[in-house]
């Protein structure tokens, strides 16, 4: 018997969190994340979810609170967006350096100034070096499924690294669609209770959140890097296990659509991917050999996957809602490094900043430009500038 509900991306996240049975939730509301923490508060109020709900005074406190609870052995959740994520920045490094297996949802939203509550991906991409695993989802179903998988990934003993699940603000967080809710016993089978080895314990006291001498510091960082590298394989394994239980698989770090024989590939991140696939189908019907690669994880970065998925294409575009001022979009910079030993033509499209709609025509125009790439002299190309 299927269990379909019609929910927004935010509500799908809240349902996923509920199924993961966290013990402690700490949150501070911020648009467009607010509905997630409101729904969770309602679930706790109605006693459908047996968790301690801490309504704290800031994002810095929210992340600090769940970090403290986690090292005592509690499964936790928090969520934020944009300026809230930046306010968490200090604690984010604490959590990853302390190997605290947190799960956080981030509603991708622009950064001030100009002040904007609307979506782009500049918030999370500016935190790429914080040591968190970053996954970007495409629709409400993947939002729910990845929240559950994020706990299994963060808490895996080979990983013990915090995970951030990113949803495009409004386009995904506020759009309603039908999703399948997994059964409680399915989730319990996939995600056992949280057991933290070496948790804080009065019977067995130890030092956490420590200092280190210059002689030792690098050893911690090597281990942190190794854990992130370990997560590549664990992501694949969890995707397969989750698929066996629920029937839904997402394909690891990056996935391709019609890439096998494609001459031109557009690389995407997040909820714009479906729309690019739709354009690919239209262009394919006209005989054009085009495809799309969806990056699912920005950290760890799918270097090998991108190299393989793009192996037959001569021209690669990267479409992203981000710009690192003074260079490229950050996704583009990472992609070009993955493809550095190839002689492909690469070009960067930056759009959707501050919530600007990316239309079907915009994407068709991008593919037209990729087809005539020799006419484009700039690497970074802003789209949607017309009034």
């Amino acid at each position: 018997m299927s269990n379909k509900v019609f929910v927004s991306g935010n509500e799908a996240v809240a349902i996923g969190v509920k199924l993961a049975k966290p013990n402690v939730i700490a949150a501070y509301p911020i648009t467009p994340q607010t509905i997630v923490v409101e729904r969770l508060a309602e679930m706790v109020e109605r006693q459908e979810l047996n968790a301690e709900y801490m309504y704290v005074e800031s994002e810095h406190s929210a992340l600090s609170a769940v970090m403290g609870a986690s090292v005592l052995g509690a499964r936790t959740f928090t969520a934020t967006s944009s300026q809230g994520l930046l306010y968490m920045a200090e604690v984010m490094h604490y959590a990853s350096g302390g190997r605290v297996p947190l799960v956080m949802m981030n509603a991708n939203r622009s950064l001030a100034l100009p002040w904007s509550i609307f979506g782009d991906q500049r918030d999370s991409l500016s935190m790429l070096d914080s040591g968190w695993i970053q996954v970007y989802v495409e629709d409400a179903q993947e939002s729910l499924d990845m929240i559950i998988q994020a706990y299994a990934l963060a808490e895996h003993k080979e990983v013990l690294t915090p995970v951030m699940v990113n949803l495009d603000g409004f386009v995904l967080t506020h759009t309603y669609e039908a999703i399948e809710v997994p059964k409680e016993e399915q989730v319990d089978k996939f995600l056992p209770g949280f057991e933290l080895e070496g948790k804080m314990d009065l019977e067995n006291p130890r030092n956490l959140f420590f200092s280190s001498s210059p002689a030792d510091n690098i050893r911690f960082k090597v281990q942190q890097h190794q854990a992130m590298e370990n997560s590549r394989e664990i992501i694949e394994i969890l995707d397969k296990q989750y698929g066996e239980i629920t029937g839904r698989r997402y394909g690891g770090l990056a996935t391709g659509y019609k890439t096998e024989d494609a001459d031109i590939i557009l690389i995407t991140l997040g909820s714009i991917t479906g729309q690019v696939r739709a354009v690919v189908d239209v262009l394919r019907a006209g005989g054009e050999k085009v495809g799309v690669v969806k990056i699912r994880f920005m950290r760890p970065f799918p270097e090998t996957e991108i190299l393989k998925l793009c192996s037959n294409a001569a021209v690669i575009g990267v479409l992203e809602k981000d710009i690192s001022f003074g260079y490229h979009g950050t996704v583009y910079t990472n992609v070009t490094d993955a493809l550095k030993n190839t002689n492909k033509r690469l070009i960067n499209f930056v759009g959707g900043l501050g919530g600007k709609n990316i239309s079907q025509q915009d994407i068709e125009e991008i593919f037209r430009r990729l087809k005539n790439v020799d006419k484009d002299t700039n690497i970074v190309n802003f789209i949607g500038l017309e009034v």
């Binding site: 379909k4 509900v5 019609f6 648009t31 467009p32 509550i117 609307f118 979506g119 409004f170 386009v171 995904l172 506020h174 759009t175 309603y176 669609e177 039908a178 909820s271 714009i272 479906g274 729309q275 696939r277 739709a278 919530g355 709609n357 990316i358 239309s359 079907q360």
Partner: protein, 176 residues
């Protein structure tokens, strides 16, 4: 793909209506739907757009509707001739109005009066959604009634279901 735009003022339930239509199509019929509001801050009384996309295959284009098959106007003070420029060919405006309507591209219905009678308030969203469904058969009457029950709290749902059932028996403004 069928694209519907609802236009109302903050507090009139435009987004609720777009959500009920989407739920009806995707939970009670073998269709796919996306429902979303015009993104941004919510203010009571300010013009609000809400969108529903319905198709027989999964909908991958999550961008805002540029041209709609139907534009449902909950509040006549928001009606403007230029709305017709945002319709696809053969598209229609479904307008809440007590006035006689002569525009062949517009279906008029006095929803405020019916809503007063069934809900005790001129909240016209379910009435106008019912006018849309009765005229277009985008979804069945039963799916509409089920989705009202799915989305709204019990007592309000049953009042709105009675209102929807009544609209399906009307002839004026409703082409059955």
């Amino acid at each position: 793909m069928i694209e519907i735009t609802f236009l109302g003022r903050g507090g009139q339930g435009a987004f609720t209506t777009s959500r009920i239509l989407g739920a009806a199509a995707s939970l009670y019929e073998n269709k796919f739907a996306l429902s979303f509001p015009s993104f941004g801050p919510e203010r009571r009384g300010a013009p609000v757009f809400a969108y529903t996309k319905i198709d027989t295959v999964p909908i991958r284009n999550r961008s805002q509707c540029q041209l709609s098959d139907y534009i449902v106007v909950l509040d006549e003070s928001l009606y403007d001739e230029s709305l017709h420029n945002k319709l696809k060919p053969e598209g229609k405006v479904i307008l809440n109005t007590p006035k006689e309507n002569s525009n062949p591209d517009t279906i008029g219905f006095d929803a405020a009066k019916v809503a007063e009678e069934y809900l005790g308030a001129a909240i016209t969203n379910t009435a106008m959604l019912s006018v849309l469904v009765a005229n277009t058969h985008l979804i069945s009457r039963d799916s509409l009634l089920a989705a009202i029950g799915y989305d709204m709290p019990g007592r309000i749902a049953s009042k709105n279901q009675k209102l929807a059932e009544y609209i399906f028996t009307c002839t004026k403004g409703v082409g059955l």
